[in-house]
């Protein structure tokens, strides 16, 4: 009996000395752990990971060169009939006699490239503007906010359309930039708002009381803590960026180089044009886009949940 009691007592002592256990988890790792327990996040991440792998290893995954035209495919190709699956070409031909399967695979690369780059550029510029506004304040803040006002005066896709329409030349970069610019004010405002809130927060006050240099306060306290919201938004923005790019293609304002295998382009241009001839040309890229967008949305939503202090314990 007493041994049992001893044992229990030891456990109690251990408990009381709990803080002495080595190692600690940071907030981010903690959130990460919570993410890993969330099936939604897993599904989202899995989808994205899958497509990322495909994108990165596209040359290994794809059966063929995505821009090469194959005689065996062009042989039977006319405007009103596009050959379907044959040996060596599992998904058949695209309207120009190229291997559709390979184009789908390379499409992952291009599409993620456009989405990711557009988001990142938007993020970078937005964060820069927002951080300056939030950190400097005063008339700089007012100026930056008025600039974002002007940008926000148009709904996002409309702004992107306008930008592409106003671009003197259109390339893949026009689309990327247009989609990126749309997000700049969103990120900027998000970051600024969050930074302003941080500025009043106790831990920033504490850092100031410690005599930490203003620059370090901004860089080490205000910015990192404000970035969470921005990162969550960024994850969600990937989805929107990919959809916006597809919409631009559909409107005929997308990347004019149809050699580039990009799902939005494949759907918005060929998919719609040859829908009756070969609906797969639309269904495959559409499903791919939906899946990727879904993946990012799922991940973003669960990240938002995971990072929500309400759920932390």
């Amino acid at each position: 009996m007493s041994t049992l009691a001893d044992h229990k007592r030891r456990r109690i002592d251990e408990l009381t000395a709990r803080t002495s256990e080595a190692g600690g988890v940071s907030l981010i790792r903690d959130a990460g752990r919570r993410l890993l327990r969330n099936p939604t996040a897993i599904v989202g991440a899995a989808i994205i990971l899958l497509f990322l792998v495909i994108a990165i290893f596209a040359p290994l995954v794809a059966p063929h060169d995505p821009v090469q035209r194959f005689p065996e495919l062009t042989k039977d190709l006319t405007v009103d009939s596009i050959p379907g699956a044959t040996a060596g070409h599992p998904l058949g031909s695209d309207p120009l006699g190229r291997d559709f399967a390979s184009r789908m695979v390379y499409g992952a690369r291009q599409t993620l490239f456009v989405g990711v780059l557009a988001t990142l550029i938007g993020l970078l510029l937005g964060v820069l503007l927002g951080a300056i506004a939030g950190a400097v304040g005063g008339w700089v803040d007012v100026l930056i906010m008025r600039i974002t006002d002007v940008m926000l005066a148009l709904p996002s896709l409309l702004l992107a359309i306008t930008l592409v329409a106003l671009a003197s030349r259109s390339t893949q970069w026009t689309v990327i930039i247009a989609v990126a610019v749309v997000n700049v004010p969103i990120f900027a405002r998000l970051l600024r708002g969050s930074m302003l809130a941080q500025r009043e927060s106790d831990h920033v006050l504490a850092a100031r009381a410690l005599g930490v240099k203003q620059r370090n306060i901004v860089l080490r306290h205000m910015l990192p803590n404000s970035l969470t919201a921005v990162i969550v938004q960024a994850t969600l923005t990937f989805a929107v960026a990919i959809l916006d790019a597809a919409a631009l293609s559909f409107l005929g304002l997308g990347d004019p180089d149809i050699n580039r295998a990009e799902w939005g382009l494949m759907l918005g241009v060929d998919g719609v044009r040859y829908f009756e001839v070969r609906p797969e040309l639309a269904y495959f890229p559409a499903c791919a886009i939906i899946l990727v967008a879904l993946g990012f949305t799922l991940l973003g939503e669960s990240m938002r949940e995971a990072l929500d202090p309400k759920n932390r314990r």
Binding site: V79, D80, L96, S170, D257, R273, V277
Partner: protein, 528 residues
């Protein structure tokens, strides 16, 4: 609302009913002289007539408002014998005075605003009163049925150019009443008179019934007093549907009876479903322009290599709309001066490579400009055509740097004004049956598009051929021009002739496709 639809179409090939035709774009206005595009000309053609016209379904000339015409040996004086008893829609009689009023109106048009809008007039007639380039001199009416038009110089474009819808004859009374000549400039654009917008008055088989811009419907009513074959339907509605896919769907839904410019991809399906696919005889050309500003391209062998490198037969097979054919010359074979025996460039990559090697132009890199945001009858999908052509060139060892430009947002500027390109694709739909309208337009003078002002031999040859008055001589001259274009000059590579099609429902009879896309709807009837 009373529905005008399917009022007719009952009974066999009956008269009456409403014929709904889906056009592809908005017209600008209905004053012929201020227009230059097919979508505006479509309704105008139904409401107006020209002095000379084409035989239905062909590009051959035939009397229109003028029963016959003749010219003097210098080709400067044109005499028109007018049809008797023709009346404009407002009741004004068509006589020589009315014809001359039209010619004088054009020549004496005031104001840069108005003048700048008369594209065809400036092109054909050179200029306006006071301009040294002006071609027109005067118009006399010796009697009510004879109009004599005198030119300052001969132009090969005539008499074909008299068929241009832009030169339709309008009622002088109506034009005066509705202030046809007032074109006011407003901001970046122009507004036109009431004549052009609300009261177009011609002699055509249909009268103007209204343009509902909100729904994009132009209503044309049967002209019961038409001088020629009276319209079989009571009413024609031109419904503007810009999206080719939607046009097709509306056709299937039965809400329109005919559509223009079906997507090439849809032809087969529609034909299979029992719709009538009407191919127009080809009257256009798509070419690959070569800019000789690039010294490498000044070498004929390089240009020939490019021609050999292109697998045009395959392009026609895979991307050509139905009825399209490889082009060996810059004009369709129905046009005067087509030479059956020009040098042909069959697809031959080895020959291309060899020629390039001979010219010392291996490892050539070329900027290939192509338009985006546009679809033309001769070029339904420029991006695809570019991709295929570029692919062919790459295969022959020519590196291609594709430069896409929006059609109106830089392509035409860069290509035609600044000549930034090495290669480009462009084309043309003929306006009237004349070789000058094709070859002359492209290569008749130095143009930045092709970058070489020193090809004087070519310019003179074409100029001479164009100035030949005698038809036979003219034919021979142009045949030689075409031979030389292919063998000696090769300023561009002709790609294909791709006729645009029309599709109608089964119950539409009598719609005859015209090579010039100049269909008149008075022949149309609806059966049930």
């Amino acid at each position: 609302a009373e529905s005008d639809r399917d009022g007719g179409g009952k009974g066999k090939a009956a008269t009456g009913g409403t014929f709904i035709f889906a056009g592809a774009g908005d017209p600008k206005n209905f004053d012929p002289i201020f227009n230059d595009d097919g979508e505006s000309f479509r309704p105008i053609r139904q409401m107006y007539d020209t002095l000379i016209t084409h035989k239905t379904g062909t590009a051959e000339l035939e009397g229109g408002l003028a029963e016959s015409w003749s010219n003097d040996p210098t080709g400067k004086i044109w005499t028109f014998k007018l049809r008797q008893g023709v009346k404009f829609h407002d009741g004004t009689a068509l006589d020589a005075a009315a014809v001359c009023a039209n010619f004088d109106r054009w020549y004496n048009m005031k104001g840069e605003a108005a003048q700048s809008q008369m594209i065809y007039y400036t092109d054909i007639f050179g200029g306006f009163a006071g301009s040294p380039d002006a071609v027109y001199d005067n118009c006399k009416a010796p009697d009510a049925s004879t109009a004599v038009v005198t030119m300052k110089k001969y132009k090969g474009a005539f008499p074909g150019a008299f068929t241009l819808t832009a030169f339709s004859i309008a009622s002088p009374t109506a034009m005066k009443k509705y202030g046809a000549d007032t074109v006011t400039q407003n901001g970046d654009s122009f507004s036109y008179s009431a004549f052009a917008n609300e009261h177009p008055t011609g002699t055509g088989a249909f009268t103007f019934g209204g343009w509902n811009k909100a729904t994009g419907e132009i209503t044309l009513n049967k002209n019961p007093d038409y001088w020629g074959d009276k319209a079989k339907v009571d009413k024609t509605i031109i419904k503007i549907i810009k999206d080719e896919n939607t046009r097709k769907q509306e056709l299937r839904a039965g809400t329109v009876q005919a559509i223009d410019f079906p997507a090439p991809a849809d032809r087969k399906a529609l034909a299979g479903e029992g719709y009538k696919v009407l191919d127009r005889p080809a009257f256009n050309i798509l070419y690959l322009g070569i800019n000789q500003k690039n010294p490498k391209l000044k070498d004929l062998r390089v240009r020939q290599a490019i021609a050999y490198a292109l697998n045009r037969a395959q392009l026609v097979q895979t991307k050509g709309p139905g009825g399209s054919a490889v082009a060996d010359e810059f004009l369709p074979n129905s046009v005067l001066g087509y030479a059956p025996d020009v040098q042909k460039y069959e697809y031959n990559v080895d020959r291309a490579k060899q020629l390039l090697a001979e010219a010392g132009a291996t490892g050539l890199t070329l900027n290939f400009y192509y338009p985006t945001e546009v679809s033309r009858p001769y070029m339904p999908n420029p991006q695809e055509i570019f991709t295929v052509l570029a692919n062919d060139l790459q295969a022959a060892g020519i590196k291609v740097n594709g430069v896409p430009r929006p059609w109106n947002g830089g392509f035409k500027d860069d290509v035609q004004q600044f000549g930034k390109q090495d290669l480009h694709i462009l084309g043309w739909t003929g306006d009237y049956n004349d070789p000058g309208n094709f070859v002359g337009t492209f290569f008749g003078r130095a143009k930045t598009e092709f970058g070489d002002a020193s090809m004087t031999e070519m310019f003179t040859a074409i100029g001479k051929a164009d100035a030949t008055v005698d038809p036979a001589a003219k034919k021979a001259a142009f045949e030689q021009v075409n031979r030389d274009l292919a063998a000696k000059w090769l300023p561009a590579v002709p790609i294909w002739h791709a006729p645009p099609a029309l599709v109608t429902t089964k119950n539409v009879e009598g719609l005859v496709p015209s090579p010039l896309t100049a269909e008149k709807f008075n022949t149309v009837s609806l059966t049930k």
